[in-house]
Amino acid sequence: MTLYLRSRRAPAALAVAVAGWAAVWAAWPLLSSERDVEGPVVVLTVLLLVCAASATLGSPDVGLDRTAALRWPWRRLVHVLVASGVLVGLLALTLASGARFGPFGVVARDVAGLVGLAALGAAVLGGDRAWFLPLGWTLPVVAGAVPDAGRAEVGRVLTWQLQEGHDRASAVTAAVLALAGAAAYARLGPARRDDTGRAS
């Protein structure tokens, strides 16, 4: 187990995630007098943590992994769930502090959806590129480049990361992404690609 975590660079990812989380958490009270961290900042923090966590989805040697007599699908599924759980837990800790990342529902939805996207990315593009999908979708949304089409259904699905906690369309989108990502990753595992972009 320890070896598995180390091969997935989990300690480093956790360190990066904690550092990013701590930086935003510590900086917020300096920047604002509000206790609740603003929506876009919450989303960007979640995105940062998910990107850090996505680094653990790859494997240094996909081919070698496959030769091991392990029940990989279950292990991968647990990996995705634990990663999401750690991130949600980390962010939930702040609810008791002076700079709250919340509401809890929004954070949980965004973590679940974005981890799902990252898992999907890992399964299709490879572990090193797992962050392409969550980042590529979320940055334009936060920057305001994606219209929410007058808050119509389509618009709320496209900008699901930024919607309110009680919004159904965005919750369904996140759930679909989480399920699809977890399923694809558990079944396929990280795609085999090397750093020069060609499948190996």
Binding site: V41, L48, A52, S54, A55, D128, L139, P140, G144, A145
Partner: protein, 443 residues
């Protein structure tokens, strides 16, 4: 050198970076269905606005390339050549910079073609475009440098997130500190909050120089950081950015400095864009220079409006665009009874000249006049009488409708000649910002 550059252009992440930057900028400019008004300043601002996304993407692309170099051991390979550090990093810098700035330029051309940009070309628009290119190149080099210092998988996405976070943070600075955003945000005009219409925008020369200076300083620091081999050299790389920041802060206009008639420091009104261009024949119709292309289409509907008001005494004899940008918080000019004003802005430009004209004709020809902004029931009643329409008698959701109908009935009860005098008087009083229009109408 050329062969190396071509190899870098083909083999590095440069082409991908260019495509991504183009996509990011396009998405930001057209995600909402086009934001430009068709003028060059508007094009420059929309383009610069796109940097909100393009700049973080450039950072990430630079870091991605740095990680690739790290993984493939290119650095060790290149380190075996007997070349100074700067020459070793120049090819990759040029390759990444060329494609990213090329994509930025291509986006500007594309936007110009799609929007049919033309007409009055203020030099300030070109300056804003050039400043954006400098900052974008600096961004991709900064990404390269930071990616080389921390060659991790997480560096590129972390830089992208941090970059966007920084830009959003700068944008939401409180009043009094906005000049920092104007100075240090790559997407400078984003900081011009409350300015939605950019046709009359002009940035001060000092702001341009300070902003450019800081952009160049960031770019130089990134390149020196890349070329630096030792810890001491890396520390020295901070020198340009510190120096540049110091100079830029000294130069940049602060909020509330004298001579600023806009909302943020360094934001002013382009007086040349405001100059009126008029039809040679009367009744005269005038538009701002920046909207000169609209003159042929607006002339006929504007003259129709004048014809409709010809029975008034004094009757308006010319139509003129109100060239005060609506983001200037200055008292409007006193209305002139001989002139009917209309407004052109990116919001109503797409609607066509007839929509502009119907707004101009409303409320006895004061509908588009922004000098005083209270809703006047008397004007609506006078307008209805002049057109010979009966206004709706009541509307449960709008109590003022009943008042309009009541005033209209007063007018209808008068002989035509007297009523016309009253309608004329209401219009003149409204242009003079009188408050008690109801009494003017009732005599």
């Amino acid at each position: 050198m050329r062969r190396v550059l071509v190899a870098e252009l083909r083999r590095s992440a440069a082409p991908g970076a260019g495509v991504l930057v183009l996509a990011a900028g396009f998405l930001l400019g057209y995600g909402d269905g086009g934001a430009g008004s068709g003028g060059w300043m508007s094009l420059a601002v929309v383009q610069s606005f796109g940097l909100v996304l393009m700049w973080p993407v450039a950072l990430a692309a630079g870091a991605w390339q740095a990680r690739r170099e790290h993984r493939t051991g290119v650095l060790e390979l290149v380190a075996t050549t007997g070349r100074p550090g700067l020459q070793r990093v120049l090819p990759v810098c040029l390759a990444m910079g060329t494609t990213v700035v090329g994509a930025y330029g291509a986006l500007a051309v594309l936007t110009a073609l799609l929007d049919g940009t033309g007409g009055y070309l203020p030099p300030g628009a070109l300056v804003i475009l050039a400043l954006g290119a400098v900052w974008l190149a600096g961004g991709v080099w900064l990404g390269l440098a930071l990616g080389r210092l921390l060659p991790s998988v997480v560096t590129p996405p972390a830089l992208a997130v941090a970059g966007l976070g920084l830009l959003i943070g700068l944008q939401s600075l409180p009043v009094g500190a906005r000049w920092v955003a104007m100075l240090a945000s790559p997407a400078m005009p984003l900081a011009v909050q409350g300015v939605h219409d950019h046709d009359f925008l002009e940035l001060s020369g000092r702001l341009d120089v300070a902003h450019g200076l800081l952009g160049v300083a960031v770019a130089v620091t990134a390149v020196v950081l890349l070329a630096a081999g030792s810890r001491r050299a890396r520390a020295a790389a901070l020198l340009p950015v510190l120096l540049g920041a110091g100079l830029a802060v000294g130069l940049a206009p602060r909020d509330g400095s004298p001579g600023v008639d806009g909302v943020v420091a360094g934001v002013g009104v382009d007086r040349v864009a405001q100059e009126l261009v008029c039809t040679p024949d009367s009744p005269q119709v005038c538009v701002a220079r920046v909207h000169a292309d609209l003159l042929p289409t607006i002339t006929a509907p504007a003259r129709d409006v004048l014809r409709g008001l010809a029975r008034l005494t004094p009757a308006p004899t010319r139509a003129e665009e109100d060239v005060t940008p609506h983001w200037v918080h200055a008292p409007g000019p006193g209305g002139r009874p001989d002139t009917v004003t209309f407004t052109v802005f990116s919001g109503n430009r797409g609607l066509g000249p007839d929509a502009v004209a119907s707004r101009m004709a409303a409320q006895v020809g004061t509908g588009a006049w922004a000098g005083c902004s209270a809703p006047f029931a008397a004007l609506d009643a006078a307008d209805a009488w002049l057109r010979g329409h009966e206004p709706p008698a009541a509307d449960p959701e709008r109590p003022d409708v009943a008042r309009v109908h009541q005033l209209w009935q007063v007018l209808r009860g008068l002989p035509d000649r007297v009523a016309l005098q009253r309608v004329s008087a209401v219009r003149v009083a409204a242009l003079g910002c009188a408050h008690d229009l109801d009494r003017v109408l009732a005599g």
